[in-house]
């Protein structure tokens, strides 16, 4: 049988703009011409000849794969690996630079919940508008209207403008519309990151039902490894715009976690180009020690840990007032923990060109199980020396924080606590 999606050699190139941020105004171009007429002409000429030093960025490079009907495929990879670009190309929002994709069914993309929702319109009106944007016909929407409202659980507010909705209601309604579209192929991008845990569960359940019962095909981008494992039979691992692995989900997720080990050695760190800062002193290694002083591969909730950052400075360079900041965020980029020697006003005067700075966490590790990102920022004399935003990913495994065998399910932190009763 013909595959439902067949991707052949897709590449997508972006030209990185010289101007940072925002949009180009004609004024800027005109003032540029006025300021430097000759270099402008030179650049134009170069462009015409095709020799301009444009900065190119390949968000996707030679991607080929095919998907059978009824499969749920996960797409994982670090930030900037090209996951979202791949979905955008598949959903025709932006065309590929080269290659060809054959799609053999009705496709609907859910890159964001509530695309096209208008704040002034009521819930009822938005269901129709959003449904139409997602590719449903008016009749389909009318037929499913009651189910949509039911699933979202907003019966009472159906005629209220959505600008008066709580963000939870908004998301529930939006997802509910999306969940009731009946395309042959559904592309989903990290949309489950919004909404409360119960609703997320409900959505996952709905998506699972849709693939298994109705034989629909789903391509699912997520940072939530649990969700990927639950929903997807196979998984694509993307790295720098290329597919590095396409296999059974469990294998791919394991590889992903192994390829992003908690401990990082100088050999791999030296090659990294995604650094910012002066670079007189650089992060040369990173690892986490447990209470016994042993390096660990993952953390366990409720244990004690020490974060260790190795540094290397340029020859004969002895920076003063060195401080380090560690920022831990969840997979959706929300910051959760900030540890910084600036906060404790502990900075160091470096006299040896390499060494290790340790940060002992004086409490049980509070994060619940999941995958987290870590960023490291190194300063000296208030100047940024080395900053790696997507430094690494690590896994926290479930641990018995309270020694009670009871685990938190729906909130990110454990808190050390002690309860007592005072009676009058």
């Amino acid at each position: 049988m013909e595959p439902i999606i067949e991707v052949k050699n897709i590449s997508k190139k972006y030209n990185i703009a010289r101007h940072q941020g925002g949009y180009v105004a004609m004024r800027d171009i005109l003032t540029n011409i006025a300021k430097k007429p000759f270099s402008f002409i030179k650049n134009k000429a170069k462009k015409l000849v095709g020799k301009a030093g444009k900065e190119e960025f390949w968000a996707l490079k030679n991607i080929s794969f095919s998907v059978e009907k009824g499969e749920a495929i996960g797409i994982i990879g670090a930030n900037g690996a090209g996951k979202s670009t791949l979905l955008k190309v598949l959903s025709e929002i932006t065309p590929p630079t080269t290659g060809e994709i054959n799609i053999n069914g009705r496709l609907s993309s859910l890159l964001e919940v509530g695309t096209g929702f208008h704040p002034e319109l009521s819930g009822r009106e938005n269901i129709f508008l959003n449904g139409a944007i997602l590719g449903m016909t008016k009749k389909e929407i009318s037929d499913k209207f009651d189910d949509i409202v039911e699933f979202a659980g907003i019966n009472k507010f159906i005629d209220t403008p959505v600008k008066r909705y709580s963000s939870g209601m908004y998301v529930r309604l939006a997802f509910s519309v999306a969940a009731h579209t009946e395309p042959d192929i559904l592309l989903v991008d990290e949309v489950l990151a919004v909404g409360d845990a119960n609703f997320q569960k409900k959505c996952l359940g709905k998506m699972d039902e849709v693939t298994k019962k109705n034989g629909r095909t789903i391509l699912f981008v997520s940072h939530n490894m649990d969700a990927i494992l639950k929903l997807c039979s196979r998984c694509i691992l993307l790295k720098n715009g290329k597919i590095t692995m396409f296999d059974e989900s469990r294998k791919v997720v394991n590889t992903y976690l192994q390829n992003n080990p908690l401990s990082q050695e100088s050999s791999s760190l030296e090659k990294r180009t995604d650094r910012k800062g002066l670079g007189n002193i650089k992060i040369s290694s990173f690892f986490v020690e447990n209470q016994e002083g042993k390096k660990v591969d993952y953390l366990i909730t409720g244990k004690y840990y020490t974060f260790c950052i190795g540094y290397k400075s340029k020859n004969n360079y002895n920076p003063k007032n060195v401080s380090i900041t560690l920022a831990i965020s969840n997979e959706n980029g929300s910051p959760l923990i900030l540890a910084s020697s600036k906060l404790t006003k502990q900075d160091f005067d470096i006299i040896s060109s390499n060494g290790i700075i340790r940060c002992k966490i004086n409490q049980k590790f509070p994060l619940t199980e999941g995958i987290y990102n870590i960023a490291i920022d190194l300063f000296s004399n208030g100047q940024r020396e080395d900053f790696i935003k997507n430094f690494g990913v690590f896994e926290v495994k479930q641990g018995d924080f309270y020694d009670t065998g009871i685990y938190i399910k729906h909130s990110p932190f454990y808190l050390e606590q002690d309860w007592s009763l005072q009676t009058n």
């Binding site: 972006y14 949009y23 180009v24 105004a25 004609m26 004024r27 955008k88 190309v89 598949l90 959903s91 025709e92 929002i93 932006t94 065309p95 590929p96 630079t97 080269t98 290659g99 060809e100 994709i101 054959n102 799609i103 053999n104 069914g105 009705r106 496709l107 993309s109 890159l111 964001e112 695309t115 096209g116 208008h118 002034e120 319109l121 009106e125 129709f128 508008l129 139409a132 944007i133 997602l134 016909t137 008016k138 403008p161 042959d184």
Partner: protein
């Protein structure tokens, strides 16, 4: 299922498939228009009356200052009817043009998240304005009754043609400007000024006849032919100038074709920079 078979390839130019696709997406076109109409007068006290209020007030102000005080000639027609006919068509044109030019930016959040033929956005913007035009036309009927002016019924038959030319010109220029607007937001600021200037080089508040031997310059502006023909058709003040109308029609068609070609050519990067 085979109905939905499609192939995504790098570059696209305008083809007949685009028209077929717009037809496929006609319900979305309807919903976009419906949304714009619904949203526009939400939380207003007099609601849809605004569609009438604006041209009506403009007509009164113009009638007092240009008609009464400046004694602007109006080819023997009562000035209020004369100017209102021009204003109606002019406002349809200018508001369509400006909505169409901005439609990609106002809908940027949708463009970057969902696929649909982008062409339906400017078309829907223009249809929305057509509804306003129809509502405001009621006033013209009232005015004609007030001045005991019988419309030239056979002349009314030409009205759809005039609206078609206006539509082609507005959508054509709108498509072109919208494509530029995505990249250079200057358009957003230049456009109101440009439209205001255009009002004075179009015979809306004055008859084309006062330009004398230079009237051929005005003929390059497709709206000149449309407004002149509309007056001739509805008010019967002069025979319809078919040559002028033909020029207008051709200019409008050219604008539409250039607009579509340019739009399709630049369409592929809309989602990347919108």
């Amino acid at each position: 299922m085979s109905n939905y078979k499609k192939t995504i390839r790098p570059k696209k130019t305008f083809s007949l498939n685009d028209i077929k696709e717009i037809w496929q997406y006609k319900e979305l076109l309807y919903f976009f228009t419906w949304r714009d109409l619904k949203v526009r007068y939400k939380q207003t006290a007099i609601g849809v009356m605004w569609a009438i209020f604006q041209p009506f007030t403009t007509m009164i102000v113009f009638s007092v200052f240009f008609g009464k005080l400046a004694k602007m000639p109006s080819d023997g027609i009562p000035y209020p009817i004369f100017v209102y006919t021009g204003l109606l068509i002019w406002q349809f044109f200018s508001s369509s043009l400006s909505e169409a030019s901005n439609c990609l930016i106002t809908n940027a959040s949708i463009i970057t998240k969902v696929y649909f033929p982008r062409l339906i956005l400017p078309i829907s913007a223009t249809i929305t304005k057509f509804v306003d035009f129809s509502i405001a036309s009621v006033i013209l009927i009232g005015l004609m009754a007030y001045y005991n002016y019988l419309p030239n019924l056979s002349g009314l038959l030409i009205l759809p043609l005039l609206l078609l030319i206006t539509f082609m010109t507005a959508v054509g220029a709108g498509l072109f400007l919208a494509s530029i607007n995505v990249k250079y937001r200057d358009i957003r600021y230049a456009l109101p000024f440009f439209i205001q200037t255009l009002l004075f080089v179009t015979p809306v508040i004055y008859p084309a006849s006062i330009t004398g031997k230079y009237s051929w310059i005005l003929a390059l502006n497709p709206m000149t032919g449309v407004i002149k023909a509309a007056r001739a058709a509805i008010l019967g003040n002069a025979p319809i100038n078919w040559t002028l109308l033909l020029i207008s029609g051709l200019t409008g068609l050219t604008a539409l074709i250039i607009g579509i070609i340019y739009f399709k050519k630049t369409e592929r990067y809309f989602a990347d920079i919108a």
